[in-house]
Symmetry: D2
Subunit: 301 residues, 4 copies
């Protein structure tokens, strides 16, 4: 098929390459010259102009957005609008908030343009291993352009599916990331408990390798843990500072909105916030209170 | 090699069979006639008597315990004692508390008997797929009887290892189960959030299948989720009642003992306790307090 | 002073009465006849009509809203608008979201009407004991009508203050309620642990009474606990079902928005959600997974 | 009455003084010369020798221990043993583990010595305000020496009580401290959320003062918060480092042992552990994993 890939960052460039390798014609679009040059070196067409890229594609077109969630998506859609025509398909493969996707889909439908929200998991490994794709929106459209998903996914019939109406794809991706936070935190805590147990002098990479085969906790994240721990068993030089992106926050907000208690996903997010608090006011308050009632000495800076 | 397998419950019988299939001579020992008969039908020798079984094995012997953690292990060791001789190896493959294993190892060493603690993961799937084995104790002994581990593990060179001195094996298994609690809870919360989102009418098994390929959250537990959800998507008829075994509790206690905050593993345990509280006193107290200060109507039984 | 009290529910009627007792002229407004009749019996004027009530008050007027947070506030403001004039003061004493108060204040300012957001704590006890009032908005206005706050507060100079610009009053009340959730949960857990300790056969009301004097945990909530436990030590007949109102949710959302980890306030909210989940899907999922990997029997409904 | 106070640390010296002021004869015992001199200056007798102090008291004697929990209590009891005689009463007013108190009580009973466990709350304020005392052990003995408790408590008839058999006093104190952790954490989080909200420029001491009168969250800990915040509103120079003593840990262990989920008390303890972790391994592991799957840049030390 013919596809415009809008956004040639790490994810977009990789996905474009996988599509290109899979026999699709891909035109990569990015305002950044460096990104375009790097992409061109991978063998597919690039363009600095949305108008130019869309003009080159046969209608109805398939336009894949791989840009940062939030305003950039709306800006890109606004910039695309004059160049789209009836029957075109726009796919948002980024980590957009599912309610935004519901809204955008309804808006584009007014011009007979189909909007699909495609939750995409796989990170930097997706290029080689394929991506897991959760797709929301019009089912017939998903089937019509199924060749794109078959190429991006790990196998033609696995790792992708139409999960529901508009928004459902990004909803599933949001939950996916919430689960991811929880799993990562569970592993991190477990490895920390083994690392701290000095008397056993455990080789954490070796323990993790043992778990890769036959254990209940085997997983892809465990495989990645093995690689991280083999390279740097004491995790030296890495700061205890963990960013978070929107999906974790949205999952926590959604859980509360649905009246569902999701304590582990919630705490996983809070631990990340905590990792970035420099000089916790609440801890200092606790110290001050202990001093007030018990005369306990406070540790000073 | 020649091995006595003490305890022919679900785990013991499967492990005995895997060893038997792997070419080892196994004598299964269990006081229960039904367990022995079921085991005999699997093709390996059985015996009701420890003395009898040990008498049949060439010295130095290898005796594998697969009995419930706690007192039963001590009782079994006491019963074994008169029949063991210098150079014998006793392996505890159950979920014993690692401090007990340290103690038992030291005790048996006084009679020149080597005690190995072997954390065993894999559940009912281990028979076919092999077990993940984390072994603590004398390294030379582990190497000497390595054929046993090679047979039990998923592959001769993978899924088993000597992780450290006595206690280290069960320590790693304890942490493994703590991580398992956290991962399970993360998935459970995520699936609950998808199930509750009625407007998307998600097919949870289908979403889980999509995640099995290429996603960050792919894992063996996810594979099992697919099977559970395919069989019973609404989990009808299952009570929201989750047992826990000792490892989760020990992990939480260990974390506190090591001054390491492990909130996700801890909360995962607490959620299981909560699942079994019939008529929470603390919730009723909250309701009573709201009534006291705000005049809020209390819901009654 | 002369004040219209809009909304004669439990809180509004009590506050109107405290103002009336304090020598202010109060006109209570409520669409419900029963509420008006009950209020009239307390000795102050009532009216079914905003227009009528406002017409009776000398300008510039003071109008106090004690209506449910959310749309009702906006509807009430819309209904008030035609009857307000330059210099009037509208006070929202309910539990509005602080961002709504910021918006409403800005809107009313366009017509030279001053909007104050007044976080009000005290519940049904406020009538006798006075209310704690956290006031946001124009400071000079707060001082000008200070007699109102002096009457409502526990003492003329204590229990009320201007805490900051518009929104600050409701912000402080939101945080106040977040703290309240955490404190209530802490007590509830503690009492549950004493109740469960059958071997000591503790008289919880007696323990609580002991704590009321000299202990670190003495508080007004503890005083209320004593009353609740004296009346019903086993909390019989009360359902373990705990509602929550918006402030807890907003506090959690605000914490995440500010990148501040507030685990105890957060978990306190989640426990309330949990108390209302009938048949937890996540617990059932855990049970199903345990069955999958370990062959553990599931408890059925 | 005549009492030996063993241990003249901050708590012991204050309690001895309150008893002395209340008309009791007190002999303070401490091995440290500085502690004895400071105590002597408060007007009551002191001694360096247990034997000497006990010899001066009329039998049956009352001996109050105010020494660090754990081994010191057992050592002190061993040192006391030769000097005690039938009918003497030993009171442990420290923060001992309740199971130790059960054991010690049974042991002393063999020599007809009555052991009381007295949970003592009040901190450095107890000297002036009186202590809250939860007493476990023989009820008739508690009544017989009730004058001691009447003097120590805030009022003759309030703030002290016999709560149950041996162990019950320290059990209630343990739970008391668990609740204290939860309440402190709730306040600390709330104040942190107000401190972080720069746009409102809140005066936290002023907000806290407002809450002291009429609000649902008024408490003694809030009173102490006011003092702490008035002295040092930004808590400058205080390290975010919060010690914990045994009671919090025991409460968490007890909750798990009783199969009661107490998430807020538990998380309050974990936050203290977290405050003292210098360079969290689990946070670094999370950062390493994010880098592995997403190519996300890790922050370095």
């Amino acid at each position: 098929m013919d596809i415009a890939m809008i956004g040639l960052g790490r994810m977009g460039a990789n996905m474009a390459e996988r599509l290109h390798r899979g026999g699709h014609r891909v035109i990569g679009v990015d305002p950044g010259e460096a990104a375009r040059n790097a992409a061109a070196a991978r063998g597919f067409e690039v363009s600095a102009s949305l108008a130019d890229a869309l003009a080159k594609l046969p209608v109805p077109r398939v336009v894949w957005l791989m840009v940062p969630a939030g305003e950039v998506v709306d800006q890109t859609l606004a910039a695309l609008a004059p160049h789209l025509s009836e029957g075109d398909v726009v796919i948002d493969g980024g980590n957009s908030y599912y309610k935004d996707s519901v809204r955008r889909s309804a808006q584009l439908l007014q011009d007979d343009i189909t909007y699909l929200d495609c939750g995409t998991s796989g990170g930097v490994w997706g290029l080689q291993e394929g991506y897991s794709l959760m797709i929301g929106g019009d089912k017939a459209t998903v089937e019509r352009i199924g060749d794109i998903f078959r190429t991006l996914a790990p196998a033609a019939d696995r790792g992708w599916s139409h999960v529901g109406p508009s928004g459902a794809g990004h909803y599933c991706k949001m939950i996916h990331n919430g689960i991811e936070y929880g799993m990562m935190q569970a592993y991190a805590e477990g490895f920390a408990l083994m690392q701290r147990k000095a008397e056993f002098n455990l080789d954490l990479a070796e323990v993790a390798r043992t778990w890769q085969h036959g254990s209940v906790v085997r997983s892809w994240l465990l495989d990645l843990s093995v690689e991280a721990l083999e390279k740097n068993p004491q995790l030296d030089g890495i700061a205890p500072y963990v960013p978070d992106s929107g999906e974790g926050r949205w999952t926590v907000a959604e859980a509360i909105d649905l009246d569902v208690s999701a304590p582990v996903i919630t705490l996983s997010l809070l631990e990340r916030l905590r990792s970035r608090e420099g000089n916790s006011y609440s801890d200092r308050m606790l110290s001050a209170l202990r001093n007030q009632f018990g005369g306990h000495q406070m540790k000073t800076d």
